[in-house]
Amino acid sequence: MKKLLLGTVALTLAAFGGMAEAKTYKIGISNTVQGNGWREEMVCAMKAQALASGEVSSLNIAHRNTDAAGQSEDIRNLIQAGVDAIVVNPANADGVNAAIKEATDKGIVVVAVDQAVTEPSAYILSNNQEQYAYLGASWLFKEMGGKGAVVYMRGAAGAGADNDRDKGFKKALAENPGITVASEVFTGWQQDQGKQQINDIIASGAKFDGIWTSGIDNVIVDALVESGAPLVPVVGADNAGFVGQLSTVAGLKGAAVTNPGSVGGAGVALALQILDGKAPAEKTTLVDPVVWDNTTDAGKALLKAAANPSLSPEWPVSVSIPGWTTYSQDQVIACKGPGE
């Protein structure tokens, strides 16, 4: 009897111990671009990672089109909701610092994904945006033979990622003195806006020999094909639609630079690690991009392996980041978070 009793006590203790170990957290998410494929994949990766980790009891998502003041409001609302960590894709590098500081002062872990913030108390997990632009632009300028005019289709003015990419692009430009910029526009990372802009450039009759895009890519190829303009080399991101075009559009030379939207899932994984007491030594972690071009056999093989017809054309094909995300492809496509 005594033994049985002791056994029960031990079991109960073990059960409680187990419960204490499987501590769950409340995670908040703030994003300020809605209706963009890359951002939607990012949010889905965040949900999928929260679900797959088993450590997240609930996810509060503030996801709308707004400015830095609106994002500060969202972050403060998440603080009110009593979250343990906030994963944020910042509207710009400085504008949300005050709200982030308020969160970290309250002991909330803040991870900025995709783009950096200048607030030192936040962790940053970002794709290496400077390298992203440098690699793609270097490939493009080489493909253009080191001379000619390039159309420079940037992202959103003032976004941290756009600033960093501009540095990389300018670096490649400085290394290729024969290249001039035919036209520079901000697509705002909006498909319709980018397509309108390239149509205007084509209609203006300006001569160009290559197009560098900040990820609004498949509509640019569409516009070239539809207008019958010469198919100049195009650099884009690893969005499913563009990766498909690189294999299927006859005569198109181009390269996709990886920029996984799944960095959002990695951000959730990092936040959970920090909450579990395993904070990284460095506040900033960069994920390095890779170039997949369709002019070499090695590049073609990579493109073929990456192509994924089950994804929406605006989604990046790299739906996971090895070493960070633990969800399956089905989970990220299902886009369901804990409790959904």
Partner: protein
């Protein structure tokens, strides 16, 4: 007493709705308190100032679609000029930006009155003009805000010789808002100019026949709107510490708050307290939906539905009131 009550029934109803929402928020999030009210006040500030601007021009029978763009111009101007400026200089910057806002409003109003093109067309065109101007001043978010200015909207009120517990729940941002409202609007409302705004808004022809200078009154209303837009732009810079050239979501939010706040879009009727309460209601709804972790794509649908229901309900109440 009953006259005051029935005259302000809409505003009182909104205040009651806000109180109910605050109670609901407390129920959803038992920790909701001083810092929650502070967050709410700071989030509401730029929206409230934008709504005040829109309410003035709507009362005078117009509309200003360039409101958010004027906020962007004033925000980037303030942030650019304040970058590296001393405290004394930044006071001058604020005054200059307020004048700039009023000047932009005057341009809008003059164009509407002189060209006789419908206000909606003129101010829609000016939306693009001011937006381009903002981008010319600053092509990417940047600049800075003076620390004293940022501190104006952070935290609760503390008064000397008064226990902190009594005043700390009142956010500085709310006090800032009501000071702006009182300083700009009270003198106008109490003067002939305020009366003329309402007269022109309710029937321009009748106002003209009673000797009201309709054109000049309209221009004055647009100027006041520009002044509130400048205050709104400064509030954005206070909140973010930088200037953003791309206008935020303030235009439609201001129209929504004006409608919800009981200002008749045709002009001539309504006050400025209603729109302010409406802004707080809409921000609080957003906060509650975040607290309840409602699907973000559903959030905007809920916000819109609440507006329609409240305005319809108000319409029914108003009709009943008229019958008895």
């Amino acid at each position: 007493m009953t006259r005051i009550l029935s005259k302000n029934i809409w505003t009182l109803g909104l205040a009651a709705l806000l109180a109910v929402l605050l109670v609901i928020t407390k129920l959803i999030q038992p920790d909701f308190g001083v810092s929650g009210l502070d967050s709410l006040g700071r989030a509401a500030l730029p929206f409230a100032l934008a709504s005040l601007g829109m309410a003035v021009v709507v009362i005078a029978g117009g509309i200003d679609l360039s409101l958010a763009s004027m906020m962007a111009v004033t925000s980037v101007t303030a942030a650019t000029l304040m970058d590296g400026a001393s405290d004394g200089q930044s006071v001058l910057v604020v005054l200059f930006v307020l004048l700039l806002g009023a000047a932009m409003g005057t341009v809008n109003g003059t164009l509407v009155v002189v060209s006789r093109v419908p206000d909606i067309v003129v101010t829609l065109s000016m939306l693009f003009v001011w937006q381009g101007t903002a981008l010319l001043i600053l092509n990417a978010p940047g600049g800075a805000a003076a620390p004293w200015l940022r501190a104006l909207s952070v935290g609760g009120v503390t008064l000397p010789f008064v226990p902190e517990a009594l005043t700390v729940w009142l956010p500085k941002s709310v006090v800032f808002l009501f000071v702006c409202l009182a300083v700009v609007w009270l003198p106008i409302r109490r003067s002939k100019l305020g009366l003329m705004f309402y007269a022109v808004g309710s029937d321009a022809l009748a106002a003209f026949r009673s000797g009201v200078p309709v054109g000049r009154t309209k221009i004055a209303a647009y100027a006041v709107t520009g002044l509130f837009a400048a205050l709104g732009g400064i509030a954005v810079t206070m909140s973010t510490g930088i200037g953003e050239p791309i206008p935020g979501p303030y235009l439609l939010a201001a129209v929504a708050a004006v409608v919800l706040g009981g200002v008749v879009l045709g002009g001539g009727r309504g006050g400025l307290i209603g729109p302010v309460l409406a802004v707080f209601i809409l921000r609080l709804v957003r906060m509650d939906l975040t607290l309840m972790s409602v699907d973000p794509n559903v959030t905007t649908i809920v916000e819109g539905s609440i507006m329609v229901v409240v305005v319809m309900f108000g319409g029914v109440v108003a009709m009943r009131g008229r019958r008895t």
